[in-house]
C-alpha cells in the first residue's frame, strides 16, 4: 500500500493484551483518506481486537495509533469517538429497548438531527422510516445492521470502523448492504472494514490489509489480491476460499 501523507489513521507496532492473552503482536497499518480499506484474515487473527484498540475499548500495551496527526493511544473511548470516528461493532451495539429514532438520536451532535444527513440516511435505508418509532429490538438481523450503519453516518464522520457487517445476513440483505457501502465509497467516506465475505471485500475495497496471528502480513490494492489466486490462498487459506 502506498501509505503516503494521505493516511488519516496509522498504527505502528501496536501490541494489545486481553487479560493474560497476547492478541496483537505489533500491528502496522495505514488507512488512506477517502478510501475503503479492507481488513481480512482468519478467525482469531486479531481484526476485531485491532478495531477495538483503535476505539480505545482495549488498551494498547505498546505502539502508536495516530489519527490525523493526533495520538489516540492515551485517549478514552468517548474522546476518540468525538474526533469523528464511528464504530459499528460485530454485535452491532443496537439498544433494543430504545426506538430506532432514539438509537439514531444518540449518535447525533447535541443539536439533534441535521436534516441533510437525516435525509441522506433515510434515503439509503428507507426501511428505517417505516420502523422509525418501533423498538429496535423488534428489527430483523439485517435491519439492525442497517440501523447500526445508519447510526454511524448520521453525522459528518472522518472514519468509519465497521466489523463484519454481513455476518449472518441473507444474500438479499448482503446485496442491500453492499449497495449502501458502495454509496458511502462513492461519497469518498474513509472506511476500515473487517469482512469475512471475500465477494463483499472485492466489491467495496480499495486497499486491503491481511492479518494473521496478531500482525499485518500483507498490504496492497484490493484488486491485486482479488486477481491473484495463489496469493489469496496463501494469505487467507481455506476459510476465505470457502466463501468464494
Amino acid at each position: 500500500m502506498t501509505a503516503g501523507n494521505d493516511a488519516i489513521l496509522r498504527l505502528q507496532g501496536v501490541h494489545t493484551d486481553i487479560g493474560r492473552y497476547r492478541i496483537l503482536h505489533g500491528v502496522d497499518l495505514a488507512v488512506r483518506r477517502g478510501r475503503v480499506t479492507m481488513l481480512l484474515g482468519r478467525n482469531g487473527a486479531g481484526k476485531t481486537t485491532t478495531l477495538r484498540t483503535i476505539m480505545g475499548l482495549w488498551r494498547a500495551r505498546q505502539g502508536q495509533i495516530i489519527f490525523d496527526g493526533q495520538s489516540l493511544t492515551a485517549l478514552e473511548t468517548p474522546h476518540i469517538a468525538r474526533l469523528g470516528i464511528a464504530y459499528v461493532p460485530e454485535n452491532m451495539g443496537i439498544f433494543g429497548k430504545l426506538t430506532v429514532r432514539e438509537n439514531m438520536l444518540l449518535a447525533t451532535a447535541p443539536r439533534g438531527f441535521a436534516q441533510p444527513y437525516l435525509d441522506r440516511v433515510l434515503d439509503s435505508f428507507p426501511m428505517l422510516k417505516v420502523k422509525w418509532d418501533s423498538a429496535a429490538g423488534s428489527l430483523s438481523g439485517g435491519q439492525k445492521q442497517m440501523l447500526a450503519i445508519a447510526r454511524a453516518i448520521i453525522e459528518q464522520r472522518r472514519l468509519l470502523l465497521i466489523d463484519e457487517p454481513t455476518k449472518g445476513l441473507s444474500p438479499a440483505m448482503v446485496d442491500q448492504l453492499v449497495g449502501a457501502l458502495l454509496r458511502l465509497k462513492a461519497e469518498q467516506t474513509t472506511i476500515l472494514l473487517v469482512e469475512q465475505n471475500f465477494r463483499v471485500a472485492e466489491a467495496v475495497g480499495d486497499e486491503v490489509a491481511v492479518m494473521d496471528e496478531g500482525r499485518v502480513i500483507h498490504t496492497g490494492a484490493m484488486a491485486a489480491l482479488a486477481g491473484d489466486d495463489t496469493l489469496q490462498h496463501r494469505l487467507l487459506g481455506l476459510s476465505m476460499a470457502a466463501a468464494l
Binding site: 475499548l57 478514552e76 473511548t77 468517548p78 451495539g93 439498544f95 430504545l98
Partner: protein, 330 residues
C-alpha cells in the same frame, strides 16, 4: 393469530397485575376501608418507589448493587428533623402555604444532603469495587454500618420526633372513607417526582443516554458519551431520591430512628426483584404492588403484612424468574 394473542397476554399481564389486586381486595375488605387502604397503599408505594428507583438505576447502569442505599434514607430523615426544628414556627401554624414551604425546604435539604453524601460515597467506596460483585456487597454493607453508626454519633441514639405540619394532620372524608391528609399530599409529591423522572428519562438527551447505558455501556462510550460522568450523576440523583423518600417516610411516621432505612431495605429489594433489576417502570409497578399488599394484608391479617410481600415476591419469581420487566443482561 392465536400465538399473537398469547404474546399480547404475556406482554400485558404484568401491567394488569396491580389493577387486579386492587379489584380483588374490594370484596375481601369491603368498600369503606378499601378506599382508605388503597390510598394508603399507593402512598406507601410511591414513597418506596422514590427509594427503589435510584437503586435500580444505579444497578442497571453500572451493575452495582448498593446495600448501603438504605443509609441515605436514614440520612434524609434525620436531616429533615434538623431542618424542620428551626422552622417549627412555620409548621405549627395552620397556614397551608407556610407548611408546604417548610416541607419543600426540608425535602430539598434532605435530597441535597443525601446526594452530596452519595457523591462522596461513590468516590470513596463504590469506585474501588466496579466489576467485583462480591467485594461490592461486602464493602457496601460495611459502609452501611459506618453511616448508621455515624448518624447515631451525630443525632444521638434515641428516636427523634418529627410532627406533621398542622394543616396536614387529620383526615378528609371521601364518601365514608377517611383518608389522611398527609397521605394525599405525599402521594401528590411522590407522583410529581415520579413524573419528573419519567420526563427526564424519556424527553432529554441525558435521559436517553442513561437508558441506553443500562442496555450497553460500551456502545454508549463508543458513541462519545463519558459514562463515568453520567454514572456519578445518576448515583447522586439516586441517593438524593432515597433522601427524599426518607424525608417523606419519617414525616409520615412522625418519628425517626437510626433503623428507619433498614426497615425499608427488604421491601426495596423485594421491589427490585419483582420489577426486574434495572427497570424503572418495573420498579414503579413493584413498589405500588408492595405498598398495596402491605396495607391490604395489614388490614386483613396484621401479622402477615411483611411476610405477604415476601410471598408475593416468591409467587412472581415462580411465574417470571427474572422479574416482571427483565432488562437485557450485560
Amino acid at each position: 393469530m392465536k400465538e399473537d394473542w398469547r404474546n399480547h397476554m404475556r406482554r400485558w399481564a404484568p401491567y394488569a397485575l396491580t389493577p387486579l389486586i386492587i379489584l380483588a381486595a374490594l370484596p375481601a375488605i369491603g368498600a369503606g376501608p378499601w378506599l382508605t387502604l388503597t390510598v394508603a397503599g399507593l402512598t406507601m408505594g410511591i414513597m418506596l418507589f422514590l427509594v427503589a428507583s435510584g437503586l435500580t438505576l444505579i444497578f442497571g447502569l453500572m451493575d452495582v448493587l448498593n446495600f448501603a442505599h438504605a443509609a441515605f434514607v436514614t440520612v434524609g430523615a434525620y436531616v429533615t428533623v434538623t431542618v424542620l426544628r428551626p422552622l417549627a414556627g412555620w409548621t405549627m401554624q395552620t397556614s397551608l402555604t407556610l407548611n408546604l414551604i417548610a416541607l419543600l425546604v426540608a425535602l430539598i435539604a434532605a435530597a441535597a444532603a443525601s446526594g452530596a453524601l452519595g457523591f462522596v460515597f461513590e468516590r470513596v467506596i463504590i469506585r474501588q469495587v466496579y466489576g467485583a460483585p462480591l467485594r461490592q456487597i461486602l464493602i457496601t454493607i460495611g459502609a452501611l454500618t459506618i453511616i448508621e453508626q455515624l448518624v447515631v454519633v451525630i443525632w444521638g441514639p434515641q428516636a427523634l420526633v418529627l410532627p406533621k405540619p398542622a394543616s396536614l394532620r387529620g383526615s378528609v372524608f371521601i364518601g365514608s372513607s377517611p383518608i389522611e391528609t398527609y397521605r394525599l399530599a405525599a402521594l401528590a409529591v411522590g407522583l410529581a417526582v415520579a413524573l419528573a423522572m419519567h420526563l427526564f428519562l424519556r424527553r432529554t438527551r441525558l435521559g436517553l443516554v442513561v437508558r441506553a447505558g443500562v442496555e450497553n455501556r460500551e456502545m454508549v462510550q463508543a458513541l462519545g458519551y463519558h459514562i463515568r460522568r453520567v454514572f456519578i450523576g445518576v448515583f447522586m440523583a439516586g441517593t438524593a431520591l432515597a433522601g427524599m423518600g426518607g424525608m417523606m417516610w419519617g414525616q409520615y411516621q412522625e418519628t425517626v430512628n437510626s433503623q428507619i432505612g433498614d426497615s425499608m431495605t427488604i421491601l426495596v429489594f423485594i421491589i427490585l426483584i419483582i420489577g426486574g433489576l434495572g427497570s424503572v417502570g418495573g420498579c414503579f409497578i413493584g413498589a405500588i404492588l408492595v405498598g398495596l399488599t402491605t396495607n391490604y394484608v395489614g388490614f386483613l391479617a396484621p401479622k402477615m403484612a411483611l411476610g405477604s410481600n415476601i410471598l408475593l415476591m416468591a409467587a412472581i419469581l415462580l411465574w417470571q424468574p427474572r422479574g416482571l420487566f427483565p432488562m437485557a443482561e450485560h
